[in-house]
Amino acid sequence: MDRQRHLVRGASARDRSRPADAGQGRGLGRREFLRYAAAGATVLGAGSALAACGGSSSSPGPGGSATAGKPKRGGTLTLGAQGGASNDNLDAHNPLTNADYPRIFALYSALVTLDTNAKVVNVLADEITSNKDATVWTVKIKSGVETHKGKTFGAKDVLYSLRRISNAKTPFPGAAVLTPLDLQNARVLNATTLQLPCKTPFSTFVDSLIDPFCLMVPEGYDPKSPDGTGPFMYKSFTPGVRSEFPRHPNYFENGKPYADDLIITDIPDEQSQVNALLGGQVNLINFLSSDSLAALQNGAVNVVISKTGGWNPITMRVDMAPFSDVRVRQAMKLIIDRPQMLDLVFGGHGRIGNDVFGYYDPLYDHSLPQRHQDIEQAKSLLKAAGHENLTVTLTTSAGIGQGIVKTAQVFAQQAKAAGVTVNVNAVTASTWFGQDYLKVPFGQDYWFYLPYLVNVPQVTIPGGAFNTPHYDNPAYTSLYKQALATTDESLKADLAHQMQKIDYNDGGLIIPYFPPVIDATAKNVHGVVQSPSFPISNYDWASIWID
């Protein structure tokens, strides 16, 4: 019964904004991309989605497929959203539940976002450039962007947003990815240009801005009467129940959004979500498990299964026995039959992992050999470490996310072959977050996709807010600092690969798989494509239409 609250945590960065990169990542807007994607698109019916996902995964991108046809204006999008509760809120910088994300992405825009191929593309930003050592950034934004209340969005609003996120008194979660910025000395150069000096080199600034906690709001923003630049505007909102957002008529992308209204209604139970869609009460549902696929495939609805870069690690504290011995950590990584685990937990959807995160990042090292189950080697490593017939407790909670407890159970089953007894201790969400998270020697966690170097400072560097493995490796940290200080892409890639080798061999995170995100829509809803991270086309509400 625990509501699932997979929260996204953001981090800090790599520079894709340099002019050399311009043609690749930044020139192609989301709208243009979708137009290209539409050309070769397929309708993702339930059956074809399965087929698509069974295919090879040699391409790093999730592969966007949009629905063919010319988008139509009008209609109401109604999302039956999972994971909402009475602490739902609309603050752009403080999403707390899984029903908050679809709402904030409707009301507010970001400077940059991920397109359907997991490339960083501009939204409000026009150009983001830095000096050679990545210590001063210049952000130029699009001109003529209007907020819901008719203000013109400018550089001063960007600065206001960054300062609001990073305020010293009670910093919002996004502050974690912006720490190198020296916001005190930031300067508004003109209406659309902002200069941001940094306290330390910050080559990952642009990537950091895809963090979902870094959305832009106008000066004087009041979350009680929210104003923003997103495709839909605030009309009404009741936490834990429902929100109603009409179309923003002066949205900066011409012709968009297509729908007249966006209604997001909280449906806490997955079975109820499926029933509401099949019964026609809502036309989109999100965060489904593979258990619902059978019911959906029998109904006249579309199912979209995305291979995301999100990751569900099993976390081992490297500062506590028995995991302080690297041989035990390696044995744990070798115990898992990853394809079997993915089959049992997600019906084979998603993709198997290799104990390194940041899958869609160009810096992700695909040349590391895929780790396979090797019981004999695991046994000999455990024997060498003096931990034959090891017994460990894996603390977990359904509140961490979809499929988490099942993963723990499969792991316990598979570990038996190596003589390891894993006691699965599943606790409630409030117990997990109140007492166990970041403390237990052996636990689990959940992340949406972030670029590799944006994720690192939060999870594998000492002081990181979500450093579940309590990882503190001076060599690794030094490599990270070097990567932050260089704008040379090949040098940065080299440094990142060295770090990933350490994650792979020495790290305290087991990443058995990258989970799928499963959404379903009514047949007449179009434009919902596979996403690298969040459900419903990464919540790109402006591009979804109804016929």
Binding site: M1, D2, R3, R5, H6, L7, R9, G80, A85, S86, N87, N94, L96, T97, K169, T170, P171, P173, A176, S236, T238, P239, G240, V241, R242, T265, D266, I267, P268, D269, Q271, S272, Q273, N275, A276, L278, G279, G280, Q281, V282, N298, G299, G399, T428, A429, S430, T431, F433, G434, Q435, D436, Y437, Y446, A465, F466
Partner: protein, 338 residues
């Protein structure tokens, strides 16, 4: 002297009790009920503080960095001692202030009130319809005992009794909302600001589910109690006097079946107040059960306290009421003892 006065007092008290058995029962049970509610509030408060973590951590979840937790704790007054928190809550309640919801940051009453109204409508509707159907069918089965109608009802009610409410609910959804017909809403989405009875269609499937769950119990108890009455000597006597079958059943048999049936109806109402959680979750019905589950997840103590107190008060009230009604229906016990 002193002894006589004491005896006199004892005699007076006993006499008052014996003269007004119903009033005595109602008053004494109400007083005990209030003590029960106080005990419940202490237990619930203790239980919520024994759980690890607190509302600030539960609300912030994974984003609970120490600075943010501290800020929220100060905002929610969680930095005070447990005793202080309980005392503040209790004195507030005595002044009619049920506190501010930790999660929603509005008065707890505003969180619970609309949900309470929705649940009350659902329970009342299911209770009334279920009772009418259950008593009617039970009486029918008793009159036709051994006949085909009785056999059918026995088998069907036994079958339904063995089905948990979520199975009944899902079956109804499949038939009426998703797979066969699309005539009723599968999920009870009530727009904020409006109530369940303003959207009557959302009440149908959850209501029918609850009715199906409670009818068999009432039916079987009515049948048994009516049969007992039908087989009694006075009934035989009345029948031999040549009274019409209808008069026999309505005036002579059914009234004697009331006390046990009222107890079962009371028990079913209590079941509805608690068991409604499952049905509300299944239909995403914005009621008190679903609200309680959310509040426990958020460790939202004011909302938990208010909800549990309301449910406990309902239990106490229904218990007293069913006892009083049973007494009223039993002349032998109702009249003052001589």
């Amino acid at each position: 002297m002193a002894q006589m006065a004491l005896e006199g007092a004892a005699v007076t008290r006993r006499r008052w009790r014996d003269d007004h058995p119903i009033l005595w029962l109602a008053v004494s049970r109400t007083l005990f009920g209030l003590l029960t509610l106080l005990a419940v509030s202490v237990i619930v408060f203790a239980a919520t503080t024994v759980l690890p973590g607190n509302a600030a951590k539960a609300i912030l979840g994974q984003t609970a960095t120490p600075a943010r937790v501290r800020a929220l704790e100060l905002q929610l007054n969680l930095d005070h001692s447990v005793w202080y928190q309980y005392w503040a809550w209790l004195t507030g309640v005595l002044r009619g202030n049920f506190g501010i919801s930790y999660a929603a940051r509005i008065p707890a009453w505003q969180v619970v009130g609309p949900r309470l109204a929705n649940s009350a409508v659902l329970v009342a509707l299911a209770g009334v319809i279920g009772t009418v159907i259950g008593v009617g069918l039970g009486a029918l089965a008793a009159v036709r005992r051994g006949g085909r109608a009785d056999d059918t009802l026995a088998v069907v009610s036994l079958g339904v009794t063995s089905l948990p409410e979520f199975v009944v609910g899902i079956a109804l959804v499949i038939v009426f909302a998703t797979t066969f017909w699309h005539v009723l809403p599968a999920v009870s989405l009530v727009p904020p600001g409006s109530t369940a009875w303003e959207n009557p269609s959302v009440l149908v499937l959850p209501g029918v589910t609850l009715v199906i769950v409670i009818v068999p119990y009432i039916l079987r108890m009515t049948r048994a109690a009516t049969i007992e009455a039908l087989e009694s000597d006075y009934f035989e006597n009345a029948r031999l006097k040549g009274l019409s079958p209808r008069r026999l059943l309505l005036v002579h048999a059914l009234p004697n079946a009331i006390p046990p049936v009222v107890q079962v109806i009371g028990l079913n109402l209590l079941y509805l107040a608690g068991g409604i959680v499952v049905v509300e979750t299944l239909f995403a019905f914005p009621g008190i059960g679903q609200g309680l589950v959310n509040a426990v997840d958020d460790r939202d103590v004011p909302v938990i306290q208010l909800t549990v107190l309301l449910l406990a008060a309902f239990y106490v009230f229904v218990n007293i009421l069913s006892d009083v009604v049973s007494l009223l229906a039993s002349p032998r016990r109702r009249l003052p003892r001589s």
